[in-house]
Structures are given as structure tokens and as C-alpha cells.
């Protein structure tokens, strides 16, 4: 076995040192009824080549996003990740280290986390950011819990244009903690309804921007209404590249801002691992979930970094902790930081404008097809269209023509009965040619094609 260095001779000598006659002697505390005598019913070990053969075969059964025209978004986006990012995160010192509990020999991870926190704070427009959460959806759920702790209230008002998976994840966590989640009816824009739903019991209002339909939301009026009622505004952003172009949520009055960071540095990965970004305004940090990296000095006065404010955390506070989170998304956060370091603010702004321009091209191409209605008057890199037929079956049919056309809203929320609604996205990787092929195929499908 290539990963097991002990030889039979080693084992025999080591057993003798340990005072055991056989390996079974070391398992004596296991009740006899629970001891497996032989191997479990699974295949035996395989060579590296054999495993590679099997897994590669499965990988080939999937249609990779980059293998042809591709227009999916809805919380996960296909962007270009520079080669140096993937190289750096595979360095042994980053890949094979543990959570930096011993700061003297973990300054590499800690300084990178401090840079990460600064970048996230700058992007979200709030002064305090933590060292990452599992992903955007769990960050959103934790933000609701945090708002309930801060306000000592038990109700969250959730926008109907919040990604349905995020709403469901928040509802799951809130339910067990006795926090009521009032999710408004699915709507493209529910600013008025949100403001209306806020009352004196409301701990927080949860609003996504750009929302699940792609519509950028001005949070300021909702923030004002929330603050008047003593509630917090939790903002959610699933496409972090949008922050290169759009106002940061903190600037629009968000008290807690969470985001999915996948777009920067991380591949699609079929849904994970991703990286959750979490920031809040000054004064709330002691109620934050997750790890925080802080600056300090060593015994000789040199600058260094440590994990800090850990009295909020499970390993110190146990059942009084602000969250149970332990392992989070360290390496994905590092990928985010390295990619963001390459981009800089200027690069992110440029990237965002390119994304927006490509999506305007997509909008124009789809709007030209009779029967296709563009529902989002404004958008960043994602928009919503209504088709004259069910979106799910249209997407299936286009997939057979090797076009991945978007996300049918019914896939995210079958109960909304929005079966003819399709979410489409474009990024810097979407070419004009891809858009042409998609629009042509969709037009053919809806209106027949000559000679078909």
C-alpha cells in the first residue's frame, strides 16, 4: 500500500515495544460482538493508474461547463481563474497545514487570512470581516442567527427574491433556534413589501443584491426602514464580481453583509467547496460566528498575526458559543485572496464591466427573439427571461444540442409555479459566438427552423 510506510518487520517490532502479542491485543476494548473478522464487502486496493482510469471515466460522462456554450448562474459562476492561483494553493505549506492554532509556525496562513479579511471588508464596505464561512448560504443562515442574538428578537423577514436555497438553509437553522422566518412571496422586486413587513419584533431583514433574478437592489430605503424599527439589515450577494461595479452593501446601510466568494479564485466544483464571506459593522464583532485573525506583536515586538476573540468560539465557550463552526473554508479563502491580489480593485472593476457588457449582449440577442420576454429591467451579469414554454424542458432540449442554457427557476423553487421563467448569466468567459449559437438555437426551438 503506497500510503502506508510501516513494513511487516516494523509492525512486529513495534508491537513488541507496545507489549502486544498481536494487533488484536490493541483492539481488546472493542466488544467482541462488534469486531469485524475480515474485510468489509468492498473492492480491495487499487493502483494509482486504476483509480485514475475509473474516476476519469466518470468525469468524461459529464458535460464540462467550458466544453461549449454555457449560461448558468444562480449562485455559482464560471470565471477565469489565473494559473498561478491554483499553483500557489497547492503548495504543501498551505494545502497540508491545519487551522493556524500555533501562530509562531503558521504566519503564512494567518497573514493571508488578515489580507483576506481586509479585502472582504473593503469589498462589502463594512469594517469587520471574518476568516470565512463554509459558503454564502451558510453565511446567510448564520447572519440571521447573529441578528437574533444582537437584537434579542425572534423574527427574520426574508425577501422573496433571495436565492431559494439560501432561504431554505436559513429557515432550517432558524427553526431549531426558535427564530421565525417570514419569507415573502416570490417577486422580482419586493422593496415595498419588505418595508411593509418590518415591525417591532423583527430582528433582521434579509435582502439579496443583485437578487436571484439578477436585479441589483438599492438597499438604502430598506435599511432605513429596518433601522427605524430597531432591526438589522442583512445583505446577501451571490456574485461577488458585481462589487467591482456596484455600490458595496455597507455603503447602502447593511449591518451584516454576506456573500458567496466562489467567483474569485474558485472553480464551479459542482456546488462546493466554496467560500462564504461575512462582514459586519463596528460593535457587532463579538457576536460574529467563525474565526477572526488579528494583528499583534511577538515577544520581541515584531508584528505578527493570531486567531483572536476566540472566546466566541466552540472550543472555548462550548454551548455558549456564537456558532458551532470549526473547520471552515481556509484554502478557498486563500484562493480568493490570491486571485483578488492579482486583480486589485482596478482589475475587479474592469472584470465587472466586461461581465456587464457581455450580459448586455446576451440580453440584446434574447430580446430579439419573438416570444421571449426580458423580465429584469436592470441587471449586472445575470437576467431573467420568460419563455413561451416551460423553461425546464427548454433547457433539457438545448442540452441535447450541447448548449447549457441557464437555470429554470422551477429547479430552485418548484412551489412558486414560475415554470416558464429562466435565469441566464454571462461572464468574461462567454463569447459573442456562444451567445449567437444560444439565441439561434432558442429561436429555432420556439419558432421552428427551416428544413427541420
Amino acid at each position: 500500500m503506497r500510503y502506508l510506510p510501516l513494513t511487516p518487520a516494523d509492525r512486529a517490532e513495534m508491537l513488541a515495544t507496545a507489549g502486544a502479542a498481536s494487533i488484536d491485543d490493541l483492539f481488546v476494548d472493542v466488544p467482541e460482538a462488534a469486531r469485524l473478522e475480515g474485510w468489509v464487502d468492498l473492492p480491495i486496493h487499487q493502483s494509482e493508474a486504476a483509480v485514475e482510469r475509473q474516476l476519469s471515466a466518470w468525469a468524461r460522462e459529464n458535460r464540462a461547463a467550458g466544453a461549449g456554450p454555457f449560461f448558468l448562474g444562480a449562485g455559482a459562476y464560471r470565471h477565469h481563474v489565473p494559473a498561478s492561483v491554483d499553483h500557489l494553493i497547492q503548495r504543501s505549506e498551505f494545502l497540508t497545514s491545519y487551522t493556524p492554532y500555533q501562530p509562531e509556525i503558521a504566519q503564512g496562513s494567518l497573514q493571508a487570512l488578515f489580507e483576506f479579511q481586509t479585502q472582504v471588508s473593503e469589498l462589502l464596505g463594512l469594517p469587520v470581516a471574518n476568516a470565512s464561512m463554509y459558503d454564502g448560504s451558510t453565511a446567510c443562515a448564520e447572519a440571521v442567527m447573529m441578528a437574533a442574538r444582537v437584537t434579542r428578537r425572534r423574527k427574520a423577514v426574508v425577501s422573496g427574491a433571495l436565492h431559494p436555497h439560501y432561504a431554505a438553509s436559513a429557515a432550517t437553522l432558524a427553526h431549531s433556534a426558535g427564530v421565525e422566518v417570514e419569507r415573502l412571496a416570490v417577486a422580482l422586486d419586493d422593496e415595498a413589501a419588505l418595508i411593509d413587513a418590518i415591525d417591532e419584533e423583527t430582528a433582521c431583514v434579509v435582502v439579496q443584491t443583485p437578487n436571484v433574478f439578477g436585479l441589483p437592489v438599492d438597499l438604502s430605503r430598506i435599511a432605513e426602514a429596518a433601522h427605524v424599527a430597531g432591526a438589522l439589515l442583512v445583505s446577501v450577494t451571490t456574485e461577488v464580481v458585481s462589487l467591482g461595479l456596484l455600490k458595496p452593501p455597507g455603503e447602502m446601510g447593511a449591518d451584516i453583509a454576506v456573500a458567496e466568494g466562489q467567483s474569485i479564485g474558485n472553480p464551479l466544483n459542482f456546488g462546493g467547496p466554496y467560500v462564504g464571506l461575512f462582514a459586519c459593522r463596528e460593535g457587532l464583532q463579538r457576536q460574529m460566528p467563525g474565526r477572526l485573525c488579528g494583528e499583534t506583536v511577538d515577544a520581541q515586538g515584531r508584528r505578527g498575526f493570531v486567531l483572536t476573540l476566540s472566546t466566541r468560539e466552540q472550543h472555548i465557550r462550548r454551548d455558549k458559543a456564537t456558532s458551532n463552526i470549526c473547520t471552515n473554508a481556509g484554502l478557498c479563502a486563500l484562493a480568493f485572496t490570491i486571485h483578488m491580489t492579482l486583480l486589485g480593485g482596478e482589475g475587479l472593476a474592469k472584470l465587472a464591466r466586461i461581465n456587464h457588457a457581455r450580459t448586455r449582449g446576451l440580453r440584446d440577442a434574447l430580446a430579439a427573439i419573438p416570444g421571449v420576454e426580458i423580465l429584469t429591467p436592470r441587471f449586472f451579469n445575470e437576467l431573467t427571461v420568460r419563455l413561451p414554454r416551460p423553461a425546464a424542458e427548454t433547457v433539457e432540449a438545448l442540452a441535447r444540442r450541447d448548449i447549457l442554457a441557464g437555470v429554470p427557476f422551477s429547479r430552485l423553487d418548484p412551489s412558486a409555479a414560475w415554470d416558464d421563467v429562466l435565469l441566464v448569466a454571462a461572464t468574461e468567459l462567454t463569447s459573442g459566438e456562444d451567445i449567437l449559437v444560444f439565441a439561434q438555437a432558442l429561436a429555432d426551438m420556439l419558432h421552428g427552423e427551416a428544413g427541420q
Binding site: 468492498l42 503548495r91 493556524p100 442567527m145 483572536t308 456558532s323 463552526i325
Partner: protein, 516 residues
């Protein structure tokens, strides 16, 4: 010693002039990117044919200025992060004996496989007909996990161990609510991981502790006294955090079930059992498995992990969406807590969990096979017992009788009178080229030192490690306190002031801290 035994020159003993403080030969000091980079530059080139069509349609929503973040060229970025990386200890450098963390070798085959475009470049919401291979891989992971644990079902989506604990407790809560038997309390042993009580509280339960016997196991009498109609579940780690197998595990399960409660197994220490003991045979109803421990997906400096939860037949219907099912046209994902999945307690996160980690774990499982995985448990336990035997004459073991499982626990009784604490001793290990063991955990042992070597350590490295600890122990007993109080002396930094960090939190860089 001017050289660490791992060969890294860090701080020489003579006063060499250095270019920057702390910069020596291979180990270079590095400022923050904010102190190095230009705020008006970018290290990324974009396609030249991109015509910016403007953003007038977004008037009123646009940020006035670009985010104030520096952009570094690729060569500067490489140097920056390579220099930072060299300030980290890593399992690829030397033994990393963190008890309860299972720092074992990470096969690079997993990295290669997870990066195949057919896995890495897949969107979670692609039509299911275009991701059949990905669903097969998830199905394969489920087959291995259920077979290795003897449990009928598994929820794959939890994103880490603590998330898995939450998944298990929420399934238990849903099952109890379905019975019309809401309960209030979760029991955890005093030696439990911090995540256990934190998770129970997050799941809305009160936490009550169960006492431990003098031989480091759950106190059955105390358990029996605390069980009752208010108890929803007991959370037990086995082997426990003292590195000992709970001999009375079947009785614990029996008492728990007789009280109408569920038995949640914390699977953090499954590495000691894999292929030799199936949790189902111990009476477990739900247990998470840290793929980043037992199945060796890299820890990555604190994640990402993955924490699938195996479930009993009674709990399985309450598992969260999504899960893989066999449909008429192939494999499908059941993504909604409705229809046939109406009992599901909801959803834990967006999409389907940690696919990148699933690929690595399956590569690891298929590589080892049923025979190799059994050997994993045996070698992990053997290595820990070897360390325990080699160190026991010198360090004090709180539970000296009988074998340990995959980790060896010592306390600080043996240091009494030396003026050296567990913390000092652990920091001195750094000067020997090793990462400290887990310290002051479990809480039930004074000055605990919990050592988990894992099965991927060769005997030579174990001996090097034991020799280093014995040498330090001799120093401590000989009164060389200075060596310990000033440790680490050869690391990039000496001990850091954690009190100052917490008292005046400085959690991000600010322009005013830039050098003039």
C-alpha cells in the same frame, strides 16, 4: 542548535546583518500586499476586444470609485505567497501530531482527480442528464460510507464535521417531533469536543454533561441518572478524546435507546476503527464522518472539509435535501423537501455539498480498498501505542492501563516542580522541528498533551519524534527552564501576544498603518 532538524535555517545564533528584520537566507520576511502593491494597478490582462458598453442602465447603483485594493503582477504575487507559505508548518514537512485532528498524508492523486474538468468545471444546477458521472461518484461515496459504517443511509451535504453534527441533531429533532415527543436536552461527556455542546445549543437543546470514570470512560451510573424522557440524544465520540475505546459502548447505546433517546456518534476519531469496527454494530443512530480526517482530504489551513452523516433507517427519512436517487433515466438528485421527501428536515446549504472533497475521498477509498482501510486503522492504532510505550516511562499518562487507540494522551503531572508547563513544552517542540500536539484538551485532564501520529508516519519519523520529546523532557527535568520559557526560538516569530490581540482587536489593515 542553529539548524532545525528539518533542515530549515531560521534564526542563526550570531548577529548577522539582515536586509529586513527576520529575513534570513531561505526564509524571507514579507510585508502585507497593501504595503507592497499599487492601488491603481492590476496583475490580470483582459481580452483586448472587449468593448465596454458602459453601465448607464445602472445609474444610482454604481460605486463611485473602484475598491481600494492593490493589484500585484504575477511575479510579485508568486513571491509574496511563496514567501508566506514558508512561514507555515505542514504535514509534508514533518509529523503533525495534533490529537483529534488526524493530520495524515494527503495523496496527490486526489488533487489531480478533483481538478478534472468533468468534476471541477461542473455547475451544480446543470441538467441532470449532463452530470451522470458526478452523480455516480456521489453514489459511490455513499456506498463506501454506508458499507464501512454498516448504516443504511447517508446525508452527503454537510460541509464540515460540525455541520454534520448539526445535520444529525436536526434529523433527530425532526424524528422526535414526528413522534410528537419534543425533548429538551442533549447529553455530552465532559471530554467531548467543543463542537458537540455548541451544536446541541445551535439545534435548540440544553446541554448537560455526563461524568467520566477514573479510567477515562463515560460513567454509566451518571448516564443512567441523567437519562430521562427529556433527553433527545447523547453525543459520544468513540474512541473518545482521551484516545480510549468506550468499552461499555453497547450498554451506553442500550440505556440511551431504552430512554427513548438517540445515540449520536461523533465520527472525528473514525480513523481508529475504519475497516475493523462498524458504528452500526455499536448501536449508533447517526454519525458524521470528517472526510478531511479519516479519508484524507487536505486540511488546507482550516478547510474546506466535508462532514457526511450516516443515519439509521429510522432517521433516514428526515435527512436534508438533496440526495441521489435512481430514476428512470439514470441517477437524479432529490432536491426538494416535498413529495417523496416530505419528511426531510429542510436544507442545510445551497446545492449538493462538497463535491471537490467527495472526489478526493473516493480516490482515497478506492486506492486503499477494504484491505487497505483496515490496515489504516491498525497502523494508526499501532503508531499511537508505540509512542505511548516509548514516552510512558518519562511523560505521565493519566490512563496508563491497557492500550490506547489512535492517539496517546499525557498530562503535565510529570512536569510538576520543573517550572515548565504543557504550553512551554509544546512551544519547545517547535524548536525541534515538530508541530505541537493538541494541548489542554480534553479538558478532563490537567495540562493535557494529546498526540495523534496517524498511520502515514514511518517508524523512523516516530523515533525521531520520540527522541526529540525525550530530549526535551530531560532538559525540563535538568532545570533548563530558559529553553522552554523563551521557546520557540528558531521559528519566524517568538510567542505572540494574544492578550493584546483580543483587547484591542485589529482585524484588517488600514492605510494609516502603512510605513511612511
Amino acid at each position: 542548535m542553529s539548524l532545525q532538524s528539518v533542515g530549515r535555517v531560521t534564526r542563526p545564533e550570531y548577529d548577522a546583518p539582515t536586509a529586513e528584520p527576520g529575513t534570513n537566507a531561505l526564509l524571507q520576511n514579507e510585508p502585507l500586499i497593501f504595503e507592497r502593491g499599487r492601488f491603481d494597478a492590476t496583475g490580470v490582462d483582459f481580452d483586448v476586444d472587449d468593448s465596454d458598453t458602459g453601465a448607464d442602465d445602472l445609474a444610482g447603483l454604481i460605486r463611485a470609485v473602484a475598491p481600494a485594493l492593490p493589484g500585484l503582477s504575477e511575479p510579485e504575487t508568486m513571491r509574496h505567497y511563496v514567501r508566506l507559505s514558508q512561514h507555515n508548518h505542514a504535514i509534508d514537512l514533518a509529523l503533525y501530531p495534533l490529537g483529534s485532528c488526524t493530520m495524515k498524508h494527503n495523496p496527490r492523486l486526489g488533487e489531480r482527480m478533483a481538478r478534472l474538468p468533468g468534476f471541477a468545471d461542473l455547475h451544480p444546477l446543470q441538467p441532470m442528464s449532463t452530470v451522470q458521472g458526478a452523480l455516480k461518484l456521489m453514489d459511490e461515496l455513499a456506498r463506501w460510507l454506508t458499507t464501512l459504517t454498516g448504516m443504511p443511509a447517508v446525508a452527503l451535504s454537510p460541509k464540515a464535521g460540525a455541520h454534520g453534527e448539526l445535520c444529525g441533531l436536526l434529523a433527530i429533532r425532526a424524528a422526535l417531533e414526528a413522534r410528537g415527543d419534543a425533548r429538551t436536552t442533549v447529553l455530552t461527556p465532559t471530554s467531548a469536543h467543543g463542537t458537540n455542546p455548541a451544536t446541541a445549543a445551535l439545534a435548540g437543546y440544553q446541554v448537560q454533561e455526563i461524568a467520566q470514570t477514573v479510567d477515562g470512560r463515560v460513567d454509566l451510573t451518571d448516564l443512567a441518572a441523567k437519562l430521562g424522557p427529556h433527553v433527545a440524544a447523547i453525543m459520544v465520540t468513540n474512541p473518545n478524546t482521551c484516545g480510549l475505546f468506550e468499552r461499555d459502548i453497547l450498554e451506553i447505546a442500550h440505556l440511551t435507546h431504552a430512554a427513548g433517546a438517540f445515540f449520536y456518534g461523533d465520527g472525528a476519531n473514525f480513523n481508529a476503527l475504519v475497516g475493523r469496527v462498524r458504528p452500526a454494530d455499536l448501536g449508533v443512530d447517526a454519525m458524521h464522518i470528517n472526510l478531511h480526517k479519516t479519508f484524507s482530504t487536505p486540511h488546507g489551513g482550516g478547510g474546506p472539509g466535508a462532514g457526511p452523516v450516516v443515519l439509521s433507517a429510522e432517521l433516514a427519512p428526515f435527512a436534508p435535501a438533496p440526495w441521489v436517487v435512481r430514476g428512470p433515466g439514470g441517477l437524479e438528485l432529490m432536491e426538494e423537501a416535498s413529495g417523496p421527501a416530505a419528511k426531510a428536515f429542510g436544507r442545510l446549504c445551497a446545492f449538493h455539498g462538497q463535491m471537490g472533497m467527495y472526489v478526493r475521498a473516493v480516490a482515497y477509498m478506492q486506492s486503499h480498498g477494504a484491505d487497505g482501510l483496515r490496515q489504516v486503522a491498525e497502523d494508526a492504532v499501532l503508531n499511537a501505542n508505540y509512542i505511548k510505550a516509548r514516552l510512558s516511562g518519562t511523560l505521565s499518562a493519566p490512563f496508563p492501563n491497557g492500550p490506547c487507540m489512535h492517539e496517546a494522551l499525557f498530562d503535565e503531572t510529570w512536569l510538576e516542580g520543573t517550572g515548565v508547563t504543557t504550553l512551554d513544552f509544546a512551544k519547545a517542540m517547535i524548536d525541534k522541528g515538530f508541530h505541537p500536539m493538541t494541548m489542554y484538551f480534553p479538558l478532563v485532564v490537567k495540562g493535557a498533551m494529546l498526540i495523534e501520529p496517524t498511520e502515514t508516519e514511518p517508524r523512523r519519523e516516530l523515533d525521531r519524534f520520540c527522541d526529540a520529546l525525550l530530549d526535551l523532557a530531560a532538559s525540563a527535568k535538568a532545570g533548563d527552564i530558559e529553553r522552554f520559557k523563551t521557546a520557540p526560538r528558531t521559528a519566524p516569530l517568538s510567542r505572540l501576544d494574544e492578550t493584546q490581540a483580543a483587547r484591542k482587536p485589529k482585524l484588517r489593515w488600514r492605510p494609516e498603518t502603512a510605513p511612511a
